[in-house]
């Protein structure tokens, strides 16, 4: 696998970084995280139109930019650095990915464009009460009702489930796992926003009581397609985690250079210096893991992607948590205050380590894949 990013990639990174430096300052993040929707529609609109970030990986025929996972990962790495608040993972990756890989032509044509254009916030509901993202744990059943279908049950920990206009639901039909579309106002459809540990990412519990839904996946089991979508989402989340970890290390290093105790910068003490050095190793490894997953996602080999996703999710989750935790420690008391941003990264790191499965789960799946 060749890892080299092209000058175009560098350019994209710079464009996104400049945009986020304006539109996702700490002040803006703190404002948005206290709101219920957790994002700024105006910014979202500009991301869709001016920068075509929302449809970055959507084929041009559907109004997207026609790029792929590698470009998307660059955006996520930058977003992770600044704790960007918005339904990007849910809309641009989970939902868009579901339409691209698991949906039939008609609904895809009808809605993918809406997403790319920034007119629709969308999400994909997978986990249920068990809080597990492996498809085997999906128990929700869909019942055929003439031309339509009806859903019964609860989906939990749904990313941006409180604000998504387009809600895609994975449920079991007679012919296997299938994907269903539920409209915002559908009968018996209820949303409960969850008070989140990480205020910068919104979660909701969605209940369905005999709720009418449209099946958008074709005949037969769509589990393989959904695995691909989840693998790609993991690659993007990993890039976000790697970006967050890097930012935490940068904050620590900047502080360690300027904070004086005992007449010396604390960064001149090996206790701090070596902590930073170890974080550097972990951060570089995390980047490698995230880039590798993104390139595998672009490569299109599902088995390769699955392994890369196990590696990325388990490693980046722990690396980000270590960086965020040590960042608090290195900042001392100040890092423990609400005013300092350290805790925002710490909470993002903790919550991100759980989404799509925790490190142990992914390591053991990797072991199985390796025949160990």
């Amino acid at each position: 696998m060749d890892f080299s990013f092209t000058p175009e990639h560098e350019e994209l990174r710079q464009t996104v970084r400049r945009f986020l430096e304006k539109e996702s300052t700490e002040q803006i993040v703190r404002k948005l995280m206290e709101t219920e929707s957790g994002y700024d529609p105006k910014t979202w609109a500009r991301m869709a139109s001016e920068l075509s970030l929302v449809g970055l990986a959507v084929p041009e025929q559907f109004g997207g930019a026609g790029y792929g996972p590698v470009e998307l990962a660059i955006v996520f790495e930058e977003m992770g650095r600044v704790l960007f608040c918005g339904p990007y993972l849910s809309t641009a990756v989970l939902a868009a990915g579901a339409f691209m890989h698991a949906a039939e032509a008609a609904p895809r044509a009808k809605l993918l464009g809406e997403i790319a254009a920034g007119r629709a916030i969308a999400t994909l509901a997978l986990a249920e009460a068990s809080g597990r993202w492996d498809l085997e744990s999906i128990a929700m059943r869909a019942r055929r009702d003439g031309a339509r279908w009806r859903l019964e049950g609860v989906k939990d920990y749904v990313l941006d489930g409180n604000l998504a206009g387009i809600v895609l639901v994975a449920a079991r039909a007679d012919d296997g796992l299938a994907l269903f579309l539920v409209e915002g106002g559908a009968a018996g459809f209820e949303r409960n926003p969850l008070p989140a540990l990480d205020l910068t990412r919104k979660l909701a519990r969605l209940s369905f009581a005999n709720t009418p839904a449209e099946r958008i996946s074709g005949a037969g089991d769509c589990a393989p397609a959904l695995e691909r979508v989840i693998g790609q989402a993991i690659a993007m989340l990993a890039a976000e985690q790697a970006g967050g970890a890097q930012r935490c290390l940068e904050m620590s290093v900047e502080y360690a250079k300027t904070r004086l105790q005992f007449g010396r910068p604390i960064g001149s003490f090996q206790a701090i210096k070596h902590k930073c050095a170890d974080l550097l190793v972990e951060t570089e490894f995390a980047r490698s893991a995230a880039y590798n997953a993104a390139f595998c996602a672009a490569g299109g080999d599902d088995a390769e992607l699955a392994q890369a996703a196990h590696i990325a999710k388990s490693y980046c989750s722990e690396a980000y948590f270590h960086a965020a935790a040590d960042n608090i420690q290195i900042h001392g008391g100040m890092g423990f205050t609400w005013e300092h941003p350290a805790h925002l990264y710490f909470k993002r790191a903790r919550a991100s380590s759980v989404i799509f499965g925790d490190p142990v789960a992914h390591r053991l799946k990797l072991a199985a894949a390796l025949g160990a």
């Binding site: 068990s130 809080g131 989140a196 979660l203 001392g332 142990v360």
Partner: protein, 408 residues
């Protein structure tokens, strides 16, 4: 002080006398504890007239026990006036003026006056002796300017133990003086300091042209560090969660959470890995408990060993890992924070369930390795004071404080 000869029976009799004269179930806190002080039952190891009887500290347990046997209403020093009773009283006794001893000790014990400690500053964390709050003598007064931080209870305190720099030309440890600050003085501003949980356990205290009478100094001018040591020796680095009995404390809660875990939350093989991790944490908690026990035994035997010094470091690092593990036991539910982040003073009521406790402690525990000495400082202490390893080259000793580079 010479220890008086008095038997356990005498002491218990004296406690029953206290209860006859003022029973906690019938009179209010100030009355009861005032009487307890007057009878020398507040701190039996203190001298007579100052709330004690000149006995051995160990005998205080007898007083507590006798009260517990005869009353429902029991007062907890730590709840009433933790800093005043824990650190203020011993400091006043050792370094305070006659006026302070006669006037303040009793009110400390009854809880009429809450106390706080004003040592740490934004620019002086691990390096407390580097503090920059200035105290300038002007006739019978000192004028104080500066900022203190991490001050628990400042918002309800009447008195503060203030360490300030009275001589910037002296080396850092020699230029400080220790003051008793009336927190109601003009120029004292207390602001809540909100932490990772949104709550404000601590305060920032801003001191602007605060006037302190010269006779409110403890110890001699310029010898404040010596007095501060007394205070710090009595500091209780009480990090929550130390297991008193086997399987108690934080690890007990983790174990129960694991046993009550939601079925199907983990794949079978993941549960095995968690089991190994929980067993590891159980072992470490148990060994910390046993090591503390050895430390106590060694102290009783009169030969205190290194066991004590390791507790703070081990407890802080372990506590963080225990609550991280608890979050992993909760799995996806750990993404939900029911308590919310409302900016308020801490409320224990909101943490009655294991779930709420675990999520709060996961956040709160991050400070364990910072407050009362960072883990990095603790490792220095273990390395240098316990193992006798040489210190680092110091550029901040034996030079005027004002010439030492410091953070804004």
């Amino acid at each position: 002080m010479a220890e008086r000869q008095i038997t356990e029976a005498d002491l218990r009799a004296r406690v029953r006398k206290l209860l006859d004269e003022a029973h906690p179930d019938r009179v209010d806190q100030f009355t009861f504890r005032g009487k307890q002080y007057d009878l020398g039952l507040a701190w039996v190891h203190f001298p007579e007239g100052f709330g004690g009887l000149g006995l051995s500290p160990a005998m205080q347990a007898i007083v507590a026990d006798e009260i517990a046997r005869n009353a429902k209403t029991l007062y907890d020093d730590m709840a009433i006036n933790p800093i005043g009773i824990g650190m203020g009283a011993p400091t006043v006794l050792t370094h305070g003026t006659e006026w302070m001893k006669t006037t303040l000790l009793r009110r400390i014990f009854t809880g009429e006056d809450t106390w706080c400690q004003l040592f740490s500053e934004p620019g002086a964390g691990s390096d407390v002796a580097g503090l920059a709050t200035r105290a300038v003598r002007e006739g019978d007064y000192f004028t104080v300017n500066g900022q203190k931080v991490w001050t628990s209870l400042a918002h309800v305190s009447r008195w503060g133990m203030l360490l300030a720099r009275s001589d910037p030309d002296a080396p850092k440890h020699l230029g400080m003086s220790y003051f008793l600050l009336d927190m109601h003085s003009p120029g004292v501003e207390v602001r809540p300091l909100h932490q990772i949980t949104g709550e404000a356990e601590f305060n920032e205290v801003f001191l602007t042209d605060v006037k302190i009478p010269a006779d409110r100094i403890m110890g001699k001018q310029g010898e404040g560090w010596k007095v501060a040591i007394t205070t710090l020796m009595n500091e209780r680095t009480a990090i929550g969660g130390a297991a008193a009995r086997r399987g108690g404390g934080s690890i007990g809660i983790l174990l129960e959470m694991w046993k009550e875990r939601q079925p199907g939350r983990f794949a079978a093989d993941c549960e095995t890995v968690m089991r190994d991790r929980i067993a590891r944490l159980y072992i470490e908690s148990e060994l910390l408990r046993l090591t503390n026990q050895r430390a106590r035994a060694a102290r009783k035997a009169g030969n205190p060993g290194p066991e004590g010094s390791v507790a703070k470091l081990a407890q802080a690092e372990m506590n963080k890992r225990i609550w991280e593990c608890a979050m992993d036991v909760l799995g996806a539910d750990s993404m939900v924070y029911e308590a919310g982040y409302a900016r308020r003073r801490p409320s224990l009521q909101s943490r009655t369930t294991h779930l709420a406790m675990a999520k709060y402690q996961f956040l709160r525990a991050r400070a364990n390795s910072i407050e009362g000495g960072t883990s990095e400082v603790m490792r220095n202490i273990l390395g240098e004071r316990v193992l006798g390893l040489p210190g680092e080259p110091r550029g901040d000793k034996d030079v005027p404080w004002k010439s030492i580079p410091r953070s804004a």
